[in-house]
Amino acid sequence: MKKVVLAVLIALMILPSAFSAPKAKVKIALIVESTVDDKGWCQAMHDAIMAVQKKYGANLVEYSYTEKMKPVDAGSAARQYVAKGYDIIIGHGAQYKNLILEMADEFPKTTFAFGTSGEIGPKNVFTYMPESEETGYINGVIAGLVTKANIIGLVGPVDGGDAARYNRGFILGVKSVNPKAQVQVAYTGSFGDFVKAAELAHTQIKAGADVLTGSAQQALGALRAVAEYKDKQIWWLGQDTAQLAVPESYKVIAAASYAYEAVVEALIDKRQSGVLGGESIPLNFSNGGFVYQFNDKVGPVLTADIRKAAEKAKADITSRKLVINWKDVK
């Protein structure tokens, strides 16, 4: 058995990466509305670019970023990057769509990107879209098996983008293992209102939910609310692995994260092969766009059977044996 494992490891090490090193120096700029250390949305993309820079070296990948940019202010930052000769400018958020489209028209030789979006943009605009129904499904499988009350609470930010995909995947995951379970879906209407997310989580718990989940930055508020029920069997499933490192992690059974390295490498690779845009780059388990982690410190709630069911779901999704028809969920 040890030999088999060793052979697999060696094979993995010598397998060629999907992307090769940049042929020439590439300059990447990132524009974010929050900060690059926000333990959430913006940090995920920043960390990915830093990882790619580390992989290929700062002499091949030059990187700069601008934080706290509202869409109305971001134009001046983007123009400065164009003037300084940056090759790829990423506006990390769908709110930058209009700005990116305007800039792309004005500067056709620069590659622009924004996400999350599945739209196909102009020839020098890439979009990227996490297929987050995949992570939602696995979290749903765990939630469906963990719940004793058969009531599960979903603290949504808005019903759009990757959050909508996550929510629908989650519902399908729950139903696949526990058709009797009821998923209570509600939205705060905001990606960043922690206080309202906490209020919604309390509402869910008072309505009987014993397992909760939620996505986007606001979800930390909901997790904080779950942690207030310290001695009760109320659990959280995360859509950000940073939640496994916060003091409230004793309530987190498992969490997923976006690994934007796949997007960053694809952007570099495509640009250097002459494709400046006009495509949407997906993030999924198959292309290494997601990370999924169990929380071993959570205790007996994470049984071997539950872990096995989640791992099977992940394997089936990765191998495309399981296709999640998230659009069927209304």
């Binding site: 250390d37 906490a198 930390l220």
Partner: protein, 316 residues
Amino acid sequence: MSILTFVSNVLSIGIPFSVALLLAALGEMFNQRAGIFNLGCEGIMAMGAFLGFIPAYFLQNSPLAGYANLLGVLAAGGAGILLGLLFALATVTFKAPQGIAGIGLQMLGWGTAGTLFRHFVGGVTGIPGLPSLPIPGLSKIPVLGPMLFSMNAMAYLAFLFVPVSYYLLFKTPWGLKIRAVGTYPRAADTMGINVTKTRYQALAMGGLLAGLAGAYLSLGQAKMFADDIVAGRGFIAVALVYFGRWHPAWILGGSLLFSIAQSFQLAIQVMGIKFPYEFAVMLPYVLVIVVLALTRSSAVRGPAELGKAYDREKRI
């Protein structure tokens, strides 16, 4: 779920969530009663939230942990007073346009809190926060107990401050001076009331309450801090002053109405009632606008000199 349980859940979540709005709106009421319109309430709340959070964050595992919340509340209130006085310097002494100065203060508070948070903390993290303080006996009353008598100490004090602010504003010489400088400062000046000093005092009081409102958000509600923790509640507080006709009791009513509407819309979403969630999210805001529109007389009850700088030397 029975209707009684539903109502109990909505109220027991909605009522504590009104506290930050109530404190901030009462503070803004003092500002506006003195004739100063402070749009910077949001920024003071952000600073209050940050300074309320910091002692709890740093002292949570130290022997001083028991004093952390108190220190946070004091720091938030102190910073609120200082920011209120800074606003007074700009708008009362230097007679800067109040709207612009308010926006500046909002940006200053928000930016400073976010920068300091990033420097000293780094990322979003939780704190123990204020514990619930169930009142013995009363908290066991069915339905009413969890609603009204199982809150934290700051929430009780905030509700107690409603009659206190009524007393201060309508039953003390200081309250009379505040109302006088907001209604007819020239007459007040003629009667020997120091308009500048009174307006400074009102803005310090407004700052104190806005700072405490921020501290309540981080210590009592979210039990964490993040850049956007205030999320527009400072502006809602300003609207609630108009809604509440510059009167503490009406402001209490407005704060409760808004928060309970908020809690109600979340509860109906959770119940799975087929209803576009966008409309549900809008409900509390629409409700405030509708009530504001229906209470036309509010305009004539506002401080006559609201938003106008007072210049003793200016000829009428």
